[in-house]
Structures are given as C-alpha cells and as structure tokens.
C-alpha cells in the first residue's frame, strides 16, 4: 500500500555499488573484530562467554540436548549445538573458537542490518549511514563480539524485523507475503532457541507495539491497516511460540521461572529481562579511570540515543499534533516500534527501580539501538543543511571517525582507560594450570574480580580437581590459596585495593609473573 520509494528491481551499476558499500561495511566490522581479538592476542575472557564455554564443553561431553549431568544452559540450546557442530567439523578447540574465531563472526550481523535498514530508511544512503552508526554503538558491538548467544540473537532480531516489514509491504499480495511470514516465524523460533528470555523480551516489545498501534495509529499515522490487524495475531502466535518453547520444547527453560514466586516476578523475568550481561561497559561508571573518560567513551551511545529520541519526538509532533501525513508506512512503523521498545525500556526502568530486575534498562539498550540508528540514519540521509555544507560534511565525517575510535576503545575495555580488565597473560594461565594440577577441592583467590576465574573457564573449562578459582572479596574462612600476579599488582595499584595476602604466607609456585601462596595452618585441624 505504501512505501512508495521502493527500490527498482534491477539496476546493475547500482547493485554493484551496493555490493561495494556493503562489502566496505563488512570490512569495517571485520577490522573492528580483528582488533578486538588482536588487542590481547586472543587472551581475553568475560563472564558470559566463559559460562557458555563451560556449558558447551559439557554439551560436547554428554552429547545430549539436555545433558544428564553437569551444567545445562537453561535458556536455549542452539548456541551450544552450533558450537559443538563447528568444533566437531573443524577440529577447533572450544577455547580457540570462542576466543579467536567467534568475534570475527560479528560480520554476520552486517547483512541483516543492511537488509533491515534498507527497508526502514527507504534509501541506500540511509541504509549505509544507519548500518555504519549501528556499528559505532559500543553496547551493540560488545554483545556482538563476545562469544555468547547474543552475536546470533541480535542478528536474528534484525532479520526477523526485516521479514516482518517485508511481509507487511507485500500485504496486498498474500502469495508474496506468505514466505516472509514463514521466514519471520522461523527467525523468531531460532531466536527463542538461542535464548528464550531474549526472544520473549523481543516479542513483548512487538506486543507493546501492536497494542499501541491501535490508538496511536488512528491518530494520524499512515499504517498498513490490514497488515497491522495481522500484526496482532502474529504477535499472539509468537507468544504461543514462546510459551511452547519455554514449557514444552525445551523444559530447562522453565528453570528460571518456576522458582519465581509471583506473577509479577515471572512476567518481569519473561518479558522485560534478557540474559544476564554483567559486564556491559556502559553500565559501569566506576569501571573507568574517571567519569570524563566514561562520558567520552559513551559519547556515541548518548549522541545517537538523544538524536533518535529528538527525531522520534519531532515525527510524533508532526503526525499526531500537526496532523501531517507521514512519508511512508514503514516510517510510521519504525516510529511505533521505537515507541514499543521505549515503553519496554520505561517498564524495565520501573522494574529496576522497584528492585524486581537487575539493570534491565541497560540490557535493553542494544535492542533500542537497532531502531535509534534507523531513525538517525534516515534523518541524516535526508538532511540538507542550507549553509556551510562542506564544513558540515567534514565535521560530521570527523565526528563519525571519533565515534568509531572511542567505541572500539570502550568495547575492548582498553586497559589504559578501563578498570575492568578482560585480558590475561599466559603466565597467569600457566599458574592456574599448575594449581589445578597440584591441589584439589580448594578455594583459590585469583583476582579483584572474576577476570582470572573466567579466563580459566573459557580457556580450560571446569577445574579437573574440583578447585574453585574465584575473585572479588577473599573468603577468609575457607581460602587457603592465593594467586599473586603482576597484573594483579597493577590492578591493585589502579584500583587502590589492598592485596588480600596476610603476612607470612608460604610461596609454593612462582613462574616469574605469577606466584601461588598458601596460608600457614593456624589450628591443628588445618593442613
């Protein structure tokens, strides 16, 4: 019905340009990914990636969708299945795959983003700019580079939105829209199978969009009327899919729900939360050497978010208050989607404030970014400054360059700027290897946070001798072993935290960079 600015079916020179630009963007993301891996020589680790590494190893060992023993991923099965398939096919070790190969697969997100923004912005320029802006969003890049399900689930979100919009566009030709509808359901199911909570959260945002489409749509938005009617039961079908997956197809998915006492908690868990992401850089003010650095590194996020919100408000003012006609149905739909995700964000904020969730707003940030960049990209593509065009062009290009620069610094937790270090040294890993080989059933303090415990988990997996490598505060009553490394000393200096070693410990291992200390027994019952 709408979207009159549909691109022509064939235009060979233009297609060539598209391929070229798209390839450029792929190259850009590849460069980011290479830097992400190369910055620490592959010796990086973070919590979610390490958890999924452990789970995948257990999956490989048991060769069961729901392993009988060991840790089972409660939110989905696809990530570990896929990883298992790749490791068996290629012979790569899980650690190599997780630390060296998977970050590079972030480029897989470029094509869905390209396709989606092509539909949402209605122009090639808009597509290019939106895609480029998306990959300057550190929150989005972080979840894309690390080795968790999110590198797939985010791409699937982009893809499912693309299928949805295409199916709406083709609403007058049911024969043409059906394949997109089917593909949409496939994408949603796949999303659920990677992580049901993230899938449910995404569906809930769509649900909110469907709900608000009725009153808001009548106020002046130019929407596909029939398609939006269909949208309601598409969302309902998705809810059924989510329900079936959670309660029937993958029974462990109910794990997080059955222990939640009331409906409120369950609803929060199912629809507002996404999987735990404790290390999203944007959430941690004290994780940076000072607040100004934090603000600078978050500049991209804030600029795009604020700009998108302003653009969204402007659109709303024009359409709903001044009763102007929207340019296209797609644009109206983007506006609605932004509102739907925004409401979810507000609900998450309320839930955060009420203590029901944990940093739900931050977890939703990457999802909101998907739409923010579409609004900003489209705006920039259409914006025509009347004066100083050259200056604007140079200035904005420079600004984008700066945003790209600071984004990658933030994504990599650049140790010169970040207090949250995500790298480790080979010597530290060697010390942990020796420890696990030598002692058993022991608590070993490793660092001021989980840095080394997740490093061991991602590189080696579970302790073979039932040792517990842990970080943060020293568990004084039960810890007999402490690891001292050069990096820990540096962190002590950076964080101004005291090394938790009591005087007079017994040094039992030293490789020059890392030492293992053992506490002397103080009672006849300590060995």
């Amino acid at each position: 019905m709408l979207n009159r600015q549909k691109p022509p079916r064939s235009n060979p020179p233009q297609v060539a340009t598209n391929y070229l630009v798209c390839s450029t963007l792929v190259g850009y993301v590849l460069l980011l990914a290479i830097y992400y891996v190369g910055r620490y020589g592959g010796n990086w680790a973070e919590l979610d990636s390490s958890v999924l590494s452990k789970i995948t190893r257990n999956f490989i060992e048991n060769r069961q969708l729901v392993p009988n023993s060991g840790e089972v991923y409660p939110n989905g099965y696809s990530y570990q299945s896929l990883t298992t398939f790749i490791t068996i096919l290629t012979g790569l070790a899980v650690a190599d795959l997780q630390q060296l190969v998977y970050p590079l697969t972030a480029i897989l997100a470029v094509l869905p983003a390209w396709l989606l923004y092509y539909e949402l912005t209605g122009s090639l320029k808009g597509t290019i700019l939106a895609t480029l802006l998306l990959f300057t969003q550190p929150e989005f890049l972080f979840v894309l580079f690390r080795s968790s399900h999110e590198k797939f689930t985010r791409s699937l979100m982009l893809l499912s939105l693309f299928f949805l919009v295409k199916s709406f566009e083709k609403q007058r030709h049911s024969g043409k829209s059906i394949p997109y509808v089917i593909l949409f359901y496939f994408a949603i199911y796949t999303l659920m199978s990677f992580n049901n909570l993230m899938g449910a959260s995404f569906i809930f945002a769509l649900f909110l969009t469907a709900v608000i489409a009725v009153p808001v749509g009548k106020r002046g938005l130019q929407l596909w009327h029939q398609a939006l009617l269909r949208f309601r039961y598409i969302v309902l079908t998705c809810l059924v899919l989510a329900y079936l997956f959670t309660f029937y197809i993958y029974p462990p998915a109910t794990h997080d729900l059955v222990f939640l006492r009331n409906i409120w908690d369950r609803a929060i868990a199912l629809f507002l939360s996404t999987p735990k992401e404790p290390d999203i850089p944007v959430s941690d003010l004290i994780g940076w050497i000072n607040p100004i650095v934090y603000l600078l590194l978050s500049l991209s996020t804030w600029l795009i978010t604020l700009a998108a919100f302003g653009i969204w408000l402007g659109m709303g003012w024009k359409w709903l208050v001044k009763q102007e006609k929207p340019d296209s149905s797609v644009l109206s739909f983007v506006w609605l989607l932004y509102l739907g995700f925004g409401i979810q964000g507000v609900l998450s904020w309320v839930a955060d404030k009420s203590g029901s969730g944990g940093h739900l707003v931050y977890r939703l940030f990457p999802s909101i970014s998907l739409l923010s960049v579409a609004l900003v990209g489209r705006f920039l593509a259409n914006w025509k400054p009347h004066n100083y065009i050259r200056v604007w062009k140079v200035g904005l290009a420079f600004a984008i360059a700066c945003l790209a620069f600071v984004s990658i610094l933030k994504v990599t937790n650049e140790p010169a700027l970040s207090n949250k270090w995500t790298f480790y040294s080979i010597s530290e890993l060697a010390a942990l290897d020796w420890t696990d080989k030598t002692i058993q059933y022991s608590q070993v303090w490793t660092d001021f946070d989980e840095r080394l415990s997740v490093a061991y988990a991602i590189a080696r997996g579970e302790s073979k001798n039932h040792n517990d490598f842990y970080g943060y505060e020293l568990r004084e009553t039960i810890t007999r072993y402490l690891l001292d490394t050069s990096l820990n000393r540096l962190r002590s200096k950076r964080l101004q935290k005291v090394m938790p070693f009591p005087p007079g410990t017994l040094l039992i291992y030293d490789n020059g960079e890392a030492q293992l200390h053992r506490l002397y027994p103080k009672t006849p019952f300590q060995d």
């Binding site: 850009y28 065009i389 290009a397 790209a404 005087p503 009672t523």
Partner: protein
C-alpha cells in the same frame, strides 16, 4: 445493593443536557466502581478470617439473603426511579408524593410475610440465622428502595452517599470484630443495612417529599408502577438465582466445605464482570439509549449502535480472555493472593471456571445492549436457559454420582455461562444484521465443547490431571479465539424464537427453591479412648451392622459392612466379618456422616485395604449406593491410604501379617519428619500423587514387625541441599520383640484412638489413626518403635535410599538404644546418636571434602529411666561399615557394634556432661552441652562444622562458657584421643580426660569451674563463685588448687596450704559398651560416693591429711602451675592477718602486703611481690603500601606479678597527625616472661609513619610512651616496570595504532562518501 438498582444507573441520567449527563455518569461510575471494590474487599476479608467450613455456611446464608431480598424486592426500586423521575421532571409534587408513599407502603407491607417466613424457619430449624437473614434482606430492600427514590428525584449526591454508606459500614463493622463466625458477619450486614435505612430516611429531608399522609396512598399508582419494573425484575431474579443456585443447594445439603470452595472460585471469576457492570450501566447504556431514541436515519443508527457495541465487545473479549488465561494458568497464585492458601483446594474448580470470565463479562454488555434496544425478553430467555442448564447438569450429574460435586457444578456453570451468553449474542447479532464477533461464539462453542467432553469422558481422573489437561487445552483454544475475533468476518444466525418463557421460569423456580430450606447443621461427638464391646447382626444376606461400644462407654462406632459375597448364615457376627471382599462404612454415634470407609478387596495373593476419609472438610465421606453396594464419591473416589499385604492380614500360622506395603495419598502424617519439617496439612493433598510409601517387614512371620522404611514423596525438591526433609526413615528392631498391637478397631491396623506418632514404651497402638470427629486419617504411626525400645534403632536420612542398592545415608545414621543393665523392662538406659554429614553436604560455604561425624553417647548411672552422663564427640573419619536389610543396605555402623566402635576411635573434639539435677528423662539423648553448642553469635555446630573442619582459626571456647542449671559439663576442643573419663579423688566426680575446662551450674546463681592449669589432662583447679543475695556485685569465691605436693585452698577469709600426696584420678574408664562395663562402672561410682556438698571445698581438702600452713585474713591470686609440680601465686595479706609461726622461712617477719609464693624444687618460698615491669620492642622493617604488613610487638615483664587479660593496642599516625587505632589483642603476660605478638597493619599511604603500642591493664596505660618510626614503601612493583609495559606487552603497538586509525578513517570515509549534502531526500538508487 441488588442487581436491579445498579441497572438503573443509566436510566436516571436521561439526557437533559450533555453536562448533566456527563456529571452524573462520572459520579455514578465512580460510586459503582467503589461499591464493587468495597464489596469485593469485604468478601475477601471475611473469607480470609473464617475457616472454610464457616465460610461455606456464610456463603449459603448470604446466597439465601440475595435470593430473598430480590424476590421480595418486586422491582419496586425501578418503579420508584422511573415514576418519581417523571413527576419530578414536570414538577408535579403532589403526584410525586402520592407515588412515593404508595410505593413505600407497598414496600413495607411485603416485608411482613418475609419476616414471618424467616422467623418460622428459625423456629423450625433452631437456627437463628434464618431470621437474621430475613431481617437483613428486609433492611436491604428498604435501603435499596430509598436509593431508587433519590435517583428518581435526581438527587445524585444523596444517592451516592446512600449507596456507599452500607459497604463502608459493613467493612468497618467487620474490621471492628464482627467477623469471627457467619452469624457475626450477617449481623454486620444487617447493621450496615440498618444504618443505610436510617441515613436514607434522614436524607429525605429537603427533597420535596412532604410529610407522610395516608391520602397519598393510591392503589392505582401501584398498579401503574409495577408493570414497568416487571421485566427487569425477572432478569435480575433469574440472574441471582443462577448465581446462587448451586451455593444454596450445597448449603441445603449441609456441604458447607464444598459451598466454600465453589464460592471462592465462583466469586473470582465474577470479579471482572462485576467490575464492568457499573461502566456498562453508566456509560454505555445512556449512549445507546440516545442513539435508539434519536431521530436519525434508521440504518445510520443501527450502524452507530453496532460500532459502539463492537468497541466494548472487543474490549471485554480481550480483558475476559486475559483474566481467563490468568486464572487457568495460575489458579493457586490467584487464590493465595485473594484468599490465602487455606482455599487452595479450589484450584481445579477455578481452572474449569476460568473461561467463564469471558462469558460472564460479555453477558452484562449484551444484556444492557438488548435492554437499551428494548428487547428485554431476550435477556430473560438467556438467564432462564442458564439457570435451567446449571440446574439440570448439576442435579443430573449428582444423581448419576459419577463426578466430584464441586467440579461438576463448576462445569455446569461454565457450560451454562457459555450457553446463556451465546444465546444473547446470537440474538444481538441477528438483530444487528451480521456482526463479526459472532464468530467468536463459533470458536467458543467448539472449544468449550471439547473441554467439556474431555472432562465428561474422564470422570474418574484426578484434579491435577484436569489442571494439566484442561489448562493448555482451554487456553490454547482461547488463543485461537482471539485470532478469530480479529478476522472480522461476518456471521449470520437464524435462531428460533422461544416462547412461553414466563411459564418455564415459574416452573424452574418452583422446582429449585424448595431445596434451599431443608438444611440444619448437625453436631459431632468427640471420642475418648476405649476398648471395644461390639454387638451386631446381619441386616441382609450381604449387610452386617455393628454397634461397637468402648468399655468406658464414651464412644460408639457404628459399622456397616457391605459384603460382596453372601454372609455365612447362622453364625456369630465375628465370623461374618469379611476382611477380604467388602466395604465398611464407619460412623460414630450421634452423627450420620460416614467418618471412614474401608474397602477390602483381593487380587490374586495380594490383599488390599483402601481407606477413604473426608476430603472437603465437611466431616463426611460421601458415597452413593450403586446396585445396592456403596460407591465412594469423596475425593473423586480416590483412596487416601492403601494397605497391601501378601496372602492376607493374618498368616496361615494365625499370626498377624506385618509384611505390608502402604501408600498414602493425602494430607496426613506419614513420617516422623513430616510432623515438623514442613506443614503437611497444607502441602499434601489427595491428588492422585503418592505422598508416602511405607514398607513394613516381618521376614520370619513372627507376628511382630522387625523393620520398616518410609519414603517421603511429598512435593518438595528432591535435592537435599535445597530442602531438608528426611527423604527416607528406617526403624528397626532386629530382635522382633515389639509389643503386641492394641486398641484396634476390628481390623488390626486401624486404631480406635488418635495417639502419638511415636510408639510408647511397651505398647503398640494400631498405627492407622483417625480423627473420628472430622472423619480424617491423621497419621500412620510407627509399626516399629524408633525410640521406645532398647535394641531398636532408626535412621532419618536426608539422602533418599534406593532399594536394591548400597546407599550413603546421612543425618541421624543411626540412632540406637540399649539396655546395658539387662533389666529388660522395655526401657533403654543408653542411647547413641550418630549424626553424619557426607562430604560437600554441609550448607553454604561450609562445604568441605570430608565427612563430619557428630556423636552423642548417653547412659544412665542406674537403670531408672533417666540419663546421667553423656559424651559428645566429633570427627572426620569416613564410615566403612554397612547395615544390611534384605531390600537395601546403608553405610552406617551397625548398632550392635556402635558402642565399641565409638569408644575404640580417636576423636577430634569432645564434650562431657553429667546431669546433676535428676530426674532427667528424654526419649533420645541429653540435649545439653553437646559438641553442637552454638557460639555467642548463635552459630550452631560451630565446633564440628567450622573449627575441626579447619574453616576457622579461633577455637570456639565461647560456645562452652555457659551451661544450664543442674548440669555439669566439660569440653576438649582438641581431644585427638579416645573419649576417656577419669574419676577425681578430690571432688568424686567423673571428668573428661584432656578437658580444656568445665563448668557446673549449681542453681543459676552459683557455679563451679574446672581448669587444668598444668595441661596434664586432669583438673587441678576448682573454683566456686556465688552471687550473694545481699550484694550481687561481690561474688563469694572459694578455690582449691592441686599442684605438686600441695593442696592450696582459700575461701575469702583464709589461705591454707596442705602438703599431701593426692592422685590426679582414682580410675580411668571409657563409656560402658556392654552389661559388664556398665555394671562395673556403676559399682565403682557407688563405692566412691561421698557425702560432702559439692561446694564444700574444705571438706574436699580434708579428705587428705598433711602439714598445713595457714594464713588468716589472706587471699591468693594468679595461681600458676609450673613444670615438675612447681607452682606460684600472689599472696595478699591483709591488715589483721595471722599466720602460723615458722611454717615458712621468715614468715614471722611478714607484714601486710602482696607476696610471691613459689614452690620450686621441693622448696616453698615467699618473697615480696613487685608490680609488672614492662619493656617493649617493635619490628622496624620497612612496610609496603597496598599490602597487609606484619608488625611484631615484643613485651617483657620483669616484675613479680603477672598481667592477665591486658589489652595490647597498636596505634599509628603520620607525622603531625593524630593517632589512629589499628587493632587490639587481649594478652596474658606472666611475671618474668616475654611474648611477641603480630599485628596486621595496612598503611593507607607510603611514607614515614609512627607506630605506638599501648597496653591497658586494670584501667591504666602501662605502655604508650614508646613510638617507633618506620618507612612505608610504595606498592610493590610487578615484575614488569610499568602498567604500560604490561598492557602493551602481548600486542604490537603498531598494530594497535594502525587498527585504531584505520577504523576511525574507514568510518569517517564511509560517512564522507555517502552523506547526502544536496539533492533529493530519497535518492532513487
């Protein structure tokens, strides 16, 4: 208020103008919503405060109230609204007054028969509630009438006030305390309506209603007024009957429990419809009426009406489906939220009723619409249809007896709600010429049909199964329905017009109403323990009736046995008893209700007994007679207990068969742990899921059970780290000498009385025990005694045992009882409790890779059923012994080996306690002063779980600083030996060898402490402390020390040194493990018995002869035992002191003051004492920033007196800054000695620091002037020199820079190239 009054909210607001309409609408919307809220609130409050039975009773009477108030309301309120409104509009006050008083008189006159009727019912049934209900109904219709009057007079605020007063007053009265019984609630209702009437009369003032004059009354006016309200009246009447029919029916059958459950679910599903009604009446209705009476084109009006209704229709559908799904998916949570968990049994009913929300929500919408369209007959038809359906289905199903009545009624309501609403909708759709929501009813019909069919085809399945099957089915279909609704397809129906509705309605009323007046509560009789004395006779070839009277004549059991085979004729009733194929119904006297049903049947060699008890709280096991034989209906025909025996209840040798397998499905105590670890009454249900498996075995067919094991299958997490119930319990008596069963009610396993779960000594009550008043099986008590039998043992394991396997059991594993005296009177005199924690099974961060064993070993000095001594031990050695049963085995020390095993082991720590204040009886062990004592922080088991596991550095001595009065206890925190005891010749008491200390709390006011000063394992200091009643701040102290060749005594007035040879012990022993050892120990203790008081230290001293040195007016302190029998103390000689001449060298030259008395190398010396002389040194090695540094403080005491319990502190400061305390330690520094103590200090910066030690002793600072300056170095560098070096070490700086530049450049370039600076906004690529 009643339904018809609410229906008029729209009518009073007939539009004079938009503003008036809007105001009225808003106000009445608010009032109606508030009323609904208040009514719901009061309902929840009452339900929460009453027990279910009483709530069911209230449900019955309030339903009666509703019916009665409506029947006698005659729709007069509607008439008043319409006619008064008419006269008021034309300002005809004369006619207005005439109409008012005519109607009022009519109103009051019809209340007289109502009051008479209710009074008569009260007299007949003896239940005053009938009258109270009649009175409340009378008041309510008057109040309602007055509301109608104010509405007719357009007195909106008065109407609102009057409407709200009643619910507010009702809630206030409830909260004030009128909520303890159904009577008090009805009284509150009555009072609130009374207040409403009063207020209504007062509010008439100033409304234009003149003084009441008889001439105003006019029959003609009444005749004019009544027909107007007739149709609304009939609709309301049918609705109310429909809503209350089942509740009144259940109540009239005295099934108050069922009434309560049904009402809870029924109320919940009606919350949404009730909440919608005000909105529809006050907002939709006026708008519809405006459209209907407007003069626009008919087609336009029709379209406008359709559109308006469509909007509401869709809204109600979405809301209804959402609430339906909520209730279908989370019934327990909804019920618990509104009504607390005591009504959780209503969950299956709520699940079935959940879809009703949708239909009941649509019903008022359609009714209002049709009334607005002046099609009043259609709602009457629909309501009549629903009433008939619920009546026919309910009654029919009940007669067939195939279903649980509550579930049946729920289903009836569901189907009738659907049918009635569907009828309304069909008519409406037909009228509005094809309307898309009609399709909803197509889907709804099929979904409800499927769901109902599922339920009807599977009548015997459990409630849980229904929930599982029904919930996804219905909710799934509802989801499909939502999609269908939005398809917007037209739908047309041709539905035949129903005629003669009034006749059908009248017939239905005549048929249903009488059922409501046949009930009266019955009384129950409590039972007392008695033996049976039965008489009986066969009533027919297959029926035997028995009347069993206990000897004490306090209880009668009326037993009706329905045999499935013909009874042998011409024999006594005893021989006619059929335990193989019969069904027994057991009642108690004066109560017609069946309290227990027993179904004996056999399959091959397996003999079964199924026991049915009451499941719904009405004290009755429901059944019906089918082909002359009873059929149990209670709990949908599910048994609560099934007992299975091979080859019958008696063995061929005539002995009772104790090879039983018992299954329990219901709320009863089936294990020891279920009695207190969780609330079995709430948790367990008769739901088709087994809650306990009990296996009893008598392998030799001796007629006595030898062991039993119980598997607790309650719906709790199976993981022991999450839930702490005993998953398996084992009781065993390998000697097979349990007491014979007694107190049986004919069948040997069924008890006449409800006793304790644990067996008593020398008795064996029949284990299946019933609360005969409630008709409820309350427990299956022990077959084999756990505690009350020497030779028995039990295991309560958190880990579940698996049959056919060797199991690692934990917790009490085992707990065994012995008769070491050999008296054999059935009472134990020794008990051993073994508490095992397996590796990694301690809670939380205490998890360690070793087992932790805790042991209590208690025995009596004599066999007098009291315990005297107990040794408590802990250690970490794994168990390598096995107890085998034919079906399984467990890792535990067999009880017969246990005493020897305990005394043959070295243990890590121990306590010893003697019960000094007898008698002391427990069924287990001595609970005082075990190794499990909590410390001062309240942490239980701190010694075995935290200290001997190595998790804590500090010995938990504070856990043993206090003991209960009458107990004497000692402890050793590092025993590392067998639990030896020794007998002291000084105090003639048994003591723990190697004890660190001990205490005897004599009476709560005085105590004796025990100390081993020379650490040779034996107590050598006794110290008595007593707070005198006159001045409790000055304790009376006595002390006796045994050191070297001397006994040193003081009592506050004198110090006496006696040179005597005293042995540290008379004999050493281990706890007795057999009869010989027990007897020998008892004999020795008896021989050594003395007569002096335990506090008489002088008498203890005087047992030994020797040379004395006596100082009067003297005391001593700081007694220290030195090596080789030497000792030392400070002697204080007061002014009037006196001493024996020449007892010590130079003794005559002594003057008052402090002296050091030393016994060294066999020589006693006395020298003047000097105060402590201290010198101090600090370690001055450089310390480091950001590290924990050790500061060693060395102190010398060169003086003559000791320092005991001084506070040594370390203070630090930067130059020119104030001192800051780092930490402090309590120290003891004997004279002529030195100590070196480490302090941990973490400097807050690098640079120069001053360290200052201080020693506080007896409120003086003995040190504090000595300071040392030290240098704190910067933080220790890592092996690499700088942070940059580390950070860039593993990666190439060039790579980093190139990448960063490339990323930035590429990003900027892409933007540069593609940013549109001119031309079209939408380029045409």
């Amino acid at each position: 208020m009643t339904v018809q009054s609410k229906n008029q909210g729209g009518q009073i607001a007939k539009p004079d103008g938009k503003t008036a309409l809007a105001k009225t609408t808003i106000l009445m919307s608010f009032v109606s919503a508030l009323m609904v809220f208040l009514n719901a609130l009061s309902g929840f409050y009452v339900a929460r405060n009453l027990i279910p039975y009483e709530y069911g009773r209230l449900t019955y009477f309030t339903s009666l109230f509703l019916v009665v108030s409506l029947v006698f309301g005659f729709g007069l309120t509607v008439s008043a609204i319409q006619h008064l409104s008419r006269y008021n509009a034309v300002k005809n006050y004369s006619e207005l007054n005439r109409m008012f008083y005519s109607l009022l008189l009519m109103r009051l006159s019809v209340l007289i028969p109502l009051l008479l009727l209710s009074g008569c019912l009260s007299l007949i049934t003896g239940d005053e509630l009938y009258f109270l209900v009649g009175l409340a109904a009378s008041l309510s219709v008057v109040a309602d009438f007055l509301c109608g009057v104010f509405q007719g007079l357009q007195q909106i605020w008065r109407t609102a006030l009057l409407y709200l007063l009643q619910p507010i007053a009702f809630i206030a009265l409830l909260v004030a305390g009128l909520n303890h019984s159904s009577k008090s609630v009805i009284l509150a209702l009555e009072l609130s309506f009374g207040l409403g009437c009063l207020l209504g009369i007062l509010l008439l003032w100033g409304t234009g209603i003149a003084r009441p004059l008889l001439k105003f009354f006019s029959l003609l006016h009444i005749k004019d007024a009544l027909p107007i309200s007739g149709q609304s009246y009939i609709i309301s009447l049918f609705q109310t009957l429909y809503y209350t029919y089942a509740l009144v029916w259940l109540g009239s059958l005295n099934q108050y429990g069922e009434a309560a459950l049904l009402n809870i679910a029924w109320t919940l599903v009606r919350i949404l419809p009730l909440g919608l009604t005000p909105l529809l009446n006050t907002v939709l209705f006026p708008r519809l009426r405006n459209l209907v009476i407007s003069t626009d084109d008919l087609n336009d009006r029709k379209k406008a009406v359709s559109n308006l209704v469509a909007i509401y229709f869709k809204g109600v559908v979405v809301l209804g489906i959402s609430v339906s799904a909520l209730m279908a998916f989370f019934p327990e949570i909804v019920i618990e939220f509104f009504y607390t968990s005591k009504y959780l049994a209503t969950a299956p009913i709520l699940v079935i009723l959940a879809p009703t929300v949708l239909f009941l929500g649509l019903e008022p919408l359609l009714t209002v619409t049709l009334i607005a369209l002046e099609k009043t007959m259609l709602p009457i038809m629909a309501n009549l249809l629903r009433l008939l359906l619920v009546g026919v289905i309910g009654l029919g199903g009940y007669m067939l007896g195939s279903l649980d009545l509550n579930l049946l009624l729920a289903l009836a309501y569901l189907l009738s709600a659907f049918a009635g609403t569907a009828l309304l909708a069909f008519y409406y759709f037909r009228m509005s010429c094809a309307f898309h929501p009609g399709l909803l009813f197509g889907f709804a019909a099929s979904s409800m049909g499927i769901a109902a069919t599922c339920r009807l085809l599977l009548p015997e399945i459990s409630g849980d199964f229904i929930v599982r099957l029904y919930r996804p089915a219905v909710s799934g279909l509802l989801m499909v329905g939502i999609a269908v609704v939005f398809l917007r397809q037209d739908f047309k129906f041709n539905f035949p017009r129903i005629t003669s509705a009034k006749k059908i309605g009248a017939l239905a009323l005549l048929g249903l109403l009488p059922l409501t007046f046949i009930a009266a509560p019955t009384q129950s009789t409590a039972l007392a323990q008695s033996d049976l004395n039965c008489s009986g006779a066969a009533q027919s070839p297959r029926i035997l009736k028995l009347d069993c009277l206990s000897e004490s004549a306090t209880a009668n059991f009326l037993i009706t046995m329905y045999s499935r085979i013909d009874l042998p004729p011409a024999v006594s009733w005893e021989k006619q008893l059929n335990y193989e194929d019969s069904l027994w119904l057991i009642r108690v006297a004066n109560d017609e209700r069946v309290k227990l049903a027993l179904d004996f049947h056999r399959e091959g060699k397996m003999q079964y007994a199924d026991l049915y008890d009451d499941g719904d709280g009405d004290g009755n096991v429901r059944y019906d007679l089918y082909a002359g034989s009873p059929r149990i209906l209670e709990n949908q025909g599910r048994w609560t207990v099934r007992v299975t025996a091979q080859e019958g209840w008696w063995k061929p040798n005539g002995k009772l068969n104790f090879n039983l397998d018992i299954l329990v499905d219901g709320s009863l105590r089936g294990s020891y742990g279920s009695g207190f670890i969780y609330d079995y009454k709430k948790l367990l249900k008769n739901d088709g899921q087994i809650d306990f498996e009990i296996h009893v075995r008598d392998p030799n067919n001796s007629g006595f059970p030898k062991y039993e094991w119980r598997q607790d299958r309650s719906p709790l997490p199976e993981d022991p780290s999450i839930s702490g119930q005993y998953r398996t319990e084992i009781n065993a008596n390998f000697e097979g000498n349990e007491a014979p069963i007694s107190g049986a009610l004919l069948w040997p396993y069924l008890s006449q009385i409800a006793g304790n779960y644990n067996k008593g000594y020398n008795v064996s009550a029949s284990p299946i025990q019933v609360d005969w008043e409630k008709g409820k099986i309350i427990q299956i008590s022990e077959f084999v005694a756990s505690r009350a039998k020497p030779g028995n043992f039990f295991v309560y394991s958190l880990n579940r045992i698996k049959e056919g396997e060797l199991n690692s059991t934990n917790f009490e594993n085992p707990f065994a009882f012995y008769d070491l005296s050999g008296v054999k009177d059935g009472w134990p005199d020794t008990a051993i409790r073994f508490e095992a924690a397996l590796p990694f099974q301690l809670p939380g961060d205490l998890s360690i890779p070793k087992p932790i064993n805790i042991l209590e070993y208690a025995w009596g000095k004599e066999h007098n059923h009291n315990l005297t001594y107990q040794v408590s031990l802990c250690g970490t050695k794994p168990i390598d012994q096995i107890i085998s049963f034919p079906e399984f085995s467990i890792k535990a020390v067999p009880p017969q080996k246990l005493p020897g095993w305990v005394t043959g082991q070295n243990w890590d720590a121990a306590t010893f306690v003697e019960v000094e204040k007898q008698p002391y009886w427990t069924s287990e062990i001595i609970y005082e002063w075990t190794v499990e004592q909590a410390d001062s922080k309240g942490r239980e088991k701190v010694l075995p779980w935290r200290y001997i596991t190595g998790l804590e550095n500090t010995p938990p001595a504070d856990a043993f600083s206090h003991i209960q009065a009458g107990f004497r206890g000692e402890y050793s925190l590092n025993l590392q030996a067998k639990p030896y005891l020794y007998f002291s010749p000084v105090d003639h008491k048994l003591h723990l060898l190697k004890a660190d200390g001990g205490i005897w709390n004599l009476d709560g006011q005085s105590e004796i402490s025990y100390t081993d000063l020379d650490h040779d394992g034996y107590t050598d200091m006794w110290r008595y402390t007593s707070l005198t009643p006159i001045d409790s701040t000055i304790p009376e102290i006595r002390q006796l020390n045994l050191a070297g060749d001397y006994l040193v005594y003081q009592d506050g007035s004198q110090v006496l040194l006696r040179k005597a040879q005293v042995k540290a012990f008379s004999f050493v022993t281990l706890p007795p493990t057999n009869q010989t050892e027990w007897e020998n120990l008892g004999k020795k203790l008896k021989e050594q018995q003395t007569s002096f008081q335990p506090t008489d230290f002088k008498a203890m001293l005087n047992q030994f002869e020797g040379q004395d040195i006596l100082f009067s007016h003297a005391s001593f302190s700081d007694f220290r035992s030195l090596k080789n029998g030497s000792f030392r103390f400070i002697l204080e000689l007061r002014e009037a002191f006196h001493s024996q001449d020449k007892a010590l060298p130079g003794i005559t030259d002594l003057k008052p003051g402090n002296y050091v008395v030393e016994y060294l190398d066999g020589t006693l010396r006395i020298t003047p004492s000097t105060p402590p002389v201290l010198s101090i040194a600090l370690s001055t090695q450089p310390k480091r920033y950001l590290e924990q540094n050790e500061v060693l403080i060395a102190i010398n005491n060169d003086g003559g007196e000791d320092i005991t319990e001084g506070q040594l502190e370390l203070w630090v400061s930067r130059p020119q800054e104030e001192l800051r305390l780092v930490s402090s330690q309590t120290i003891s520094l004997p004279a002529k000695s030195k100590i070196s103590l480490p302090f941990i200090w973490t400097p807050s910066s690098a640079g120069l620091w001053l360290l200052t030690p201080k020693l506080n002793y007896k409120n003086e600072v003995l040190l504090g002037h000595v300071s040392e300056q030290i240098t704190v170095l910067p933080e220790k560098e890592a092996s690499s020199d700088s942070i940059a070096q580390i950070l860039w070490a593993d990666t190439n700086l060039l790579f980093v820079l190139l990448c960063l530049v490339a990323i930035a450049t590429l990003g900027g370039l892409v933007f540069w190239k593609y940013w549109q600076t001119s031309g079209q906004a939408h380029d045409a690529e």
